[in-house]
């Protein structure tokens, strides 16, 4: 009997291929976005792990200096006392297309089973050592490095974004004396003195680079994940609609099967088998689509991560079986969630229940009340998350709760609005139109919820991005005060340049900095000269009195907003700085786009405290940067590529910014199109069932054409109402993103700016989507043979 039952059940899809397509489509889309985002995240995480593995010599602890670099003599003293450590030179070199991280290692002492030990092991000593020694890079990175005045050898197995070279070659390329770290090998000899006795200035640092990188990039990946989840939720609305409809329409089949003796358990089992095979089919399609999405988005994501965090994610997607399986699992889980209600109803259906598919779409006050209660629950969850303030995850709970509450409350609110509007109706046709619209609401509500979510996300994220862009460009204009930025390599060049510029009466702003740990996290420490331009160009978020005078007198430091928020610092607080001294926080400035903490102190203080600080960069104030640039090339022989003018720097910063949000934009559009599809599907399915409602109106003399027009208007009206309701939801979302998520994720708070013109476009777009979606069903109605409408009256119902 089972094959016969299966044939009976499946025949539904044969008669309604479009419904079948809808189901598969919705599920595949949901799976695709979800697994695409997962693939990107997994790829990024893999890159971080590989990079960390390479950087720390296989996750080994490292010795670092409390201040500056480790002297060669210290390293030798350690080796000669029986400490097996291996020196590492770690820095950046400028390539033709961006910076590349360069690791210089000692193949003689590097841990032999680590990535670095095997990549630049003794077998490549021949061509990596000595003045002609090669730099080893991954082919993708070789492309970025471009023409380096060194032999560049491509090694496919190397971590992208990292260049490996022999210690001496790397020191030479970076012009560095001393080592950044010493890797502590795992097998230490039997007899050793205390580390403290040999090198009191060093401290052990556990290998945590991967964690550093994932902590920095966490917020970005969480954003992607949230988008993936949102799309998945929207996709599930579609699936839920399609499955629910299919169950309702098959009630006569179920009834007949039950009457023929099939147990409800058996029917449910067969339905589960059916749904499971759909889930696997759609899941497989979704995974392929997800792969496509991921590979299309990955270059942008990679550029963002590199620009924003210096994290390198390059190369191609490598998908693990786990990823494939999780894609299928999420598709199955989603199908299960979307069809649970339908299956329970089938299981409980009495054998002689009347076949009334219309019931599915009937106004159900109980359901609506249930949804409202659920909405309140979600709202409280969101508020609780806001009150407790549990970091980034708390922020997303707030976000999710708020969105779900709004979506669930939508049908009730729409019903209320429609009820209110119906009071203005004149004449019987108008009265029927409003009543009928309200009656259709439950059938359309899932699609409208999806639309609301997509629109709100669009408005919210759009507002956030625009606010960010607004603030960022303004801030960039203010902060980039120098007209020309010059970088020199040696002390002689540096004093030559300063003399040259002083002779010509130009103001020079040294951009000298060092790096070190501030409160246990990496930070940059800059020195500034006493120049009025800072006071006029640095926007301070909070300040103590006479902040600039005191800064220049060496009495304190300015810190960036990220550091202030992370450590809860405000003007007046004590701040410990590398080198074992501390100073007072004088003010906090905004520093967008920088994942690191930053400290600004007076230049003489920087030079005095950190003699190893990088002193090669200068900003110059000039009216004619182009001419000065040419003169510096001609008269001082400074290579042109060591200079950047303000415009180029701005353009570069904006480019990084735009790329950062290119991914967000793409996901936004995808989500919106999924929602549009949901409306189309809902309208199409409804139109087929609405004949019993329409036939009497037609019989009373309203033409099919008029009816079709009313259908069209109804779709537009509902979309417009949803859009209007989506506006406050979107602004609320933007507020959460700007004041909760951004602060947690990036450490800066942005002022919100509203862009109503964008909303007009979005409103028009959603009207167009709804209009397009209802065009087909309306046309179908207009061309429906009158015989179909007459038959309604002859039908058993």
């Amino acid at each position: 009997m089972t094959p016969a039952m299966l044939t009976a059940l499946l025949s539904h899809w044969k008669r309604r291929p479009f419904q079948f397509l809808t189901l598969i489509h919705g599920l595949a889309l949901a799976t695709a976005l979800w697994s695409g985002v997962q693939a990107i995240n997994a790829e990024a995480r893999k890159s971080y792990d590989e990079a960390a593995d390479t950087l720390t010599g296989g996750g080994l602890p490292n010795l670092v200096a409390r201040n500056g670099l480790i002297a060669h003599e210290t390293y030798i003293a350690l080796r000669r006392s029986g400490w097996l450590v291996s020196p590492v030179v770690d820095g950046w070199i400028a390539g033709e297309r961006g910076r590349v991280r360069l690791l210089g290692i000692d193949p003689f002492t590097a841990p032999s089973d680590s990535t670095i030990g095997t990549t630049i092991g003794p077998d490549s000593i021949g061509d990596t050592m000595g003045s002609e020694g090669a730099v080893l890079v991954n082919p993708a990175t070789a492309n970025r490095l471009g023409a380096l005045n060194r032999t560049v050898r491509e090694v496919a197995t190397l971590t992208p974004g990292l260049a490996l070279a022999d210690l001496t070659v790397a020191s030479d390329l970076m012009d560095q004396q001393g080592y950044n770290r010493l890797i502590v090998l795992p097998d230490q000899p039997l007899v050793q003195p205390d580390l403290e006795d040999i090198a009191p200035d060093l401290r052990t640092e556990q290998a945590d680079t991967a964690e550093d990188l994932s902590r920095l990039t966490d917020s970005f990946h969480l954003n992607l994940t949230a988008f993936g989840l949102l799309s998945f939720a929207v996709g599930l609305f579609i699936v839920n609609g399609a499955v629910g409809l299919a169950f309702e329409q098959r009630r006569p089949v179920f009834r007949t099967l039950r009457a023929l003796g099939a147990s409800s358990r058996r029917i449910v089992a067969l339905l589960i088998v059916e749904l499971l095979s759909f889930a696997i089919l759609a899941g497989a399609i979704g995974i392929v689509l997800g792969y496509l999405i991921a590979s299309l988005l990955l270059p942008d994501v990679a550029a963002t991560l590199r620009g924003l965090y210096g994290a390198s994610v390059e190369g191609t997607l490598t998908l693990s079986p786990v990823w494939w399986l999780s894609g299928l699992a999420i598709a199955t889980l989603g199908t299960g969630l979307a069809s649970l209600n339908g299956l329970i109803q089938v299981a409980r259906m009495p054998p002689l229940a009347p076949a009334k598919p219309r019931a599915w779409a009937m106004v159900n006050a109980g359901t609506m009340r249930g949804q409202l209660i659920l909405a309140v629950v979600f709202l409280f969850a969101a508020l609780a998350a806001l009150a407790i303030g549990g970091g980034l995850v708390g922020g997303f709970v707030l976000l999710g709760g708020f969105l779900m509450a709004c979506a669930l409350a939508l049908p009730a609110i729409l019903a209320g609005i429609l009820l209110y509007l119906s009071r203005f109706g004149r004449g019987p046709l108008s009265a029927w139109f409003w009543a009928d619209t309200r009656q259709q609401l439950p059938g359309l509500s899932l699609a409208l919820m999806a639309l609301l979510l997509a629109l709100a996300a669009n408005i919210g994220v759009g507002t956030m991005v625009s606010s960010f862009r607004d603030t960022f460009t303004g801030w960039l204009d203010q902060r980039l005060v120098s007209d020309l930025y010059v970088s020199v390599e040696t002390e002689e060049e540096s004093s030559l340049l300063q003399d040259y510029l002083a002779e010509r009466g130009l103001d020079v702003l040294p951009i000298w900095e060092t790096e070190g740990d501030v409160r246990g996290a990496p930070a940059e420490i800059y020195g500034v000269v006493d120049h009025p331009v800072y006071e006029s160009s640095w926007p301070l978020l909070s300040r103590s009195p006479d902040v600039w005078e005191r800064l220049h007198d060496g009495e304190g430091a300015l810190i960036n907003e990220q550091l202030a928020r992370r450590e809860g610092l405000s003007p007046g607080d004590e701040l410990e700085l590398p080198g074992g001294w501390s100073t007072q926080v004088l003010g906090v400035y905004s520093d967008y786009g920088n994942p690191l903490g930053q400290v600004v102190i007076a230049l003489p203080l920087l030079v005095g405290t950190y003699p190893d600080a990088d002193k090669g960069d200068f900003g110059v104030l000039t009216d004619d940067p182009q001419r000065l640039r040419q003169e510096l090339v001609a008269e001082l022989g400074i290579p042109d590529e060591q200079m950047t003018d303000q415009a180029a720097l701005k353009a570069f910063s904006m480019q990084v910014f735009e790329r950062t949000f290119a991914v967000t934009g793409a996901l936004n559009i995808l989500t919106l199109s999924v929602a549009g599809l949901a409306i189309l599907i809902a309208l199409l399915t409804l139109s087929a069932m609405r004949l019993p409602q329409l036939a009497p109106v037609w019989a009373l003399g309203v033409t099919r054409r008029k009816l079709a027009q009313l259908e069209f208007v109804r779709a537009l009206l509902l979309a417009a109402l949803t859009f209007v309701l989506a506006l406050p939801v979107g602004i609320g979302l933007a507020w959460v993103l700007l004041t909760v998520i951004n602060v947690e994720a990036f450490g800066w708070r942005l002022p919100m700016s509203l862009f109503p013109r964008d909303w007009i476009w979005l409103g028009l777009a959603s009207l167009a989507a709804a209009g397009l979606a209802s065009l087909w069903p309306s046309r179908q109605l207009a061309k429906r043979p009158p015989a179909d409408l007459i038959r309604v009256f002859a039908h058993e119902r």
């Binding site: 080796r79 003689f108 092991g121 490549s124 001496t168």
Partner: protein
């Protein structure tokens, strides 16, 4: 050690895939730019105890047969190799490798170290004598009076070595020929060390005493391409006489066997091919390999007919360049103790 003149170079052939060996021996098999051993060279000590950077390869090689107070035998090895990556003798072109081992009743333990030439991490000075890599040291006032230390994660030793006899020049005045084709090295030894000191193991500290043997050798030439490995012994007989002998195996099954006889009067005589025969008589399975750990050695001129057998057959050096090296017991016409090294198995 010894034959090993050619040890590293030979290993290039023996394990062509071995990364280190290739890197260490450097660029190709020619000796372009490097100094070549000459039969006319006469050693000048202590200068020649130091490094000869103009030659491609060189080592300072000590083995010692020791006993604890209960008479349990121990063996130790201390080796420092210098390899020039480029000719012309610059410090920055030198690469250093070192091996240390102890053979004990509870197993064989070893360690290895590497260093680049100009780092200060390894080096040799002739006077006062010091050879070192990291914390491992062979430090004198002079090469006849040295302190020897080395360690791994599971052993440490600290020994005092005092020589009561002269340096022995191997071959003809220290010019030691390695094949019919004429490859050669400069080679001398100090086989007359009396040793005392401690071996520290994770579980106990052992006071030991015994005899040690130093080999100094440098060259620029590799073995011939058909030579597949060698078997080398240094033996202290109870009579006070000593024997160094080695057997270079050829791919065709033949062998080139020579050595040096050191009489009770501490005078030496170079043995010609054919004077000495070395025949493997028993094999052990070590680290998955069949290694001949017992040898029958005959030197008819001295009516010598002995059996040399490994005290600890597990003395495998699982270093990047791997080989067997451990203490042996000598039975037969001339009883005694000594060291055996075998490569290419």
């Amino acid at each position: 050690m010894n034959v090993s003149v050619f040890r590293l170079a030979a290993l290039i052939f023996l394990c062509a895939s071995n990364a280190l060996a290739q890197g260490f021996a450097g660029l190709g098999q020619t000796t372009d730019g490097f100094a070549l051993p000459s039969p006319d060279t006469r050693f000048a000590f202590p200068a020649d105890h130091g490094a000869h950077n103009e030659f491609r390869i060189e080592w300072w090689y000590v083995t010692a047969n020791l006993e604890d107070e209960a008479g349990n035998p121990y063996g130790i090895q201390w080796t420092l190799f210098r390899n020039a990556l480029e000719p012309h003798g610059a410090e920055s072109d030198q690469a250093w490798m070192a091996h240390a081992a102890v053979s004990t009743p509870n197993g064989h333990r070893f360690a290895e170290r590497f260093a680049r030439g100009d780092s200060g991490q390894a080096g040799v000075s002739a006077e006062p004598f010091e050879a070192f890599i990291d914390e491992w040291q062979m430090i004198g006032p002079n090469l006849n009076d040295i302190r020897l230390t080395a360690q791994g994660s599971d052993f440490h030793y600290d020994l005092k070595l005092d020589a009561d006899g002269p340096f022995i020049l191997q071959g003809e005045q220290g010019f030691s020929v390695k094949s019919e084709a004429g490859q050669a090295s400069h080679y001398y030894s100090q086989p007359f060390y009396q040793v005392s000191g401690t071996i520290t193991l994770p579980e106990r500290v052992v006071e030991v005493s015994g005899r040690a043997w130093l080999d100094r050798e440098w060259s620029s030439q590799p073995l011939t391409e058909t030579q597949t490995g060698w078997d080398w012994v240094s033996l202290h007989f109870e009579s006070g006489a000593k024997l160094m002998g080695y057997r270079l195996r050829d791919a065709d099954g033949s062998a080139y066997t020579v050595g040096t006889w050191i009489g009770e009067d501490q005078t030496s005589r170079a043995l010609q091919p054919g004077d000495l025969t070395m025949t493997a008589s028993a094999w052990s399975t070590v680290e998955g390999r069949e290694v001949p750990t017992t040898w029958d050695i005959a030197f008819p001129e001295q009516e010598l007919q002995i059996s040399v057998s490994a005290i600890y057959p597990d003395s495998w050096m699982g270093t990047l360049v791997s080989y067997w090296e451990g203490p042996v017991r000598v039975n037969g016409s001339h009883p005694g103790i000594g060291y055996l090294e075998m490569s290419g198995y």
